[in-house]
Amino acid sequence: MTAFVEISDVSLMYPGAGASETLALDHASLSIGKGEFVAVVGPSGCGKSTLLKLVSGLHAPTKGSVIVAGHEVAGPIKIVGMAFQNPIMLPWRTTVDNVLLPLEIVEPHASRFRTNRKAYAQKAKALLAAVGLNGFADSYPWQLSGGMQQRASLCRALIHEPDLLLLDEPFGALDAFTREELWTVLRDLWKAQHFTVILVTHDLTEAVFLADHVHVCSKRPGRVISSRNVDLPHPRDKYSVEFVSLVRDLHNGIAEVRAA
């Protein structure tokens, strides 16, 4: 199977004056099949978020290449949906209008947005309902709780039916209950639509709960140093023996990386 996302031998140097140049990624390679759910974990500052920016085309690699869906990434690509650690809603738009934002930008939706606005709004409301935000479409984001905003942010990342969903610690700022509820929301959306997901996180339980493959990054400059497959069937029980031992293995692996 040819990979859907192929990151080969990528290095990225953040420019700065003299010694303040930082090497965020050092010859990192990663290959992701279509429809896979992949988690990237590692110590903070290891270049996990940088990896996502490379895949989305927000940054260009200093060395190496990133290929998505058979094309080398040279700028922002439109088959991508992205959600960040903060929901980053536009405060002047209602929740449904926030969710609709990608459709106003991404073709072929953008050119028919005005005429099909009602149908699109219906679709957005259905998606909001699917993540448990029924009845909040016309509220402003600042009237919603952090967890609700993050749900809406997930909807915005998915409204244009991207083939590739990039998640940059999207549940990091939430309380434990909301976080775990959103894991199941994300899992069910993924099961239903089968997009490819790259999830960056430092929550190992989250990674094992959701992903098919978990990749561990070294500390800065980041590199993928080990990968684990998660063969447990969904829905996963995070208190099962296999689950716990997998999390412990990953934990020990990262502890070694940090100590090294």
Binding site: I88, L90, L166
Partner: protein
Amino acid sequence: MGKLERAMPWLFVAGLLIGWEFIAVAFNIPVFILPRPTVVAQSLYAQAGPILENSWVTLVRTMAGFALAVSLGGVLGVAIGSSRLIYRGLYPVLIGFNSVPKVAVVPVFVIWFGTGSIPAVLTAFLVSFFPIAVNVATGLATVEPELLDVLRSLGARKSQILMKIGLPRSLPYFFASLKIAITLAFVGTIISETVAGSQGIGYLMMAATANFDTPLVFAGLFVIAILGIVMYAIFAVAEQRMTFWAKRGDGFFT
């Protein structure tokens, strides 16, 4: 808002006027030095015709200059805020321009355009466009990079980012500047009218000064103050309607 809170501005103005009246009577201050509020009111009533006529002229000139300032200042702000090159090139010039006292420019305008409305409109424009341009530019320049990433990751063009994020995001700054700019525009018009005018409240006040008619001068000041408050209030309401999302709490008020 409680009854007292609503009444506060009126109570304060009433207190100020009564205090003024009392002090003027108590110290027997001559009318041509500091007229009492009641004398000013008499003058307002007696000269209502000319005052209304000239206020109208001043108002129209101010609004014309202000409209120019809003459109040109807005465009300039967007240009400065969205292009580093333009920012680099234009900003020092703008600051220099703004530092020039506008009173000094009025005679030049008179040489170019005569003493009609044009110098007044231009002065109002010159005084009031700067805060608008600076505020709009600041609004654009301080857009959170995360907001930009959301649109960039979708492959948005620069013009789309400006329309979807930049302009809405800078609206609160824009409206805040309008409230400052409208009061400045009055200052500009009146400066021009006092230096070289044949009409307008500024001219009326100059003429009254020449006649030692201090109550009429104060009547003019009152009219200007009232016009300023009314225009400010209008833009404050517009701001509240357009940018309610930016003001969600009571701010620093307790």
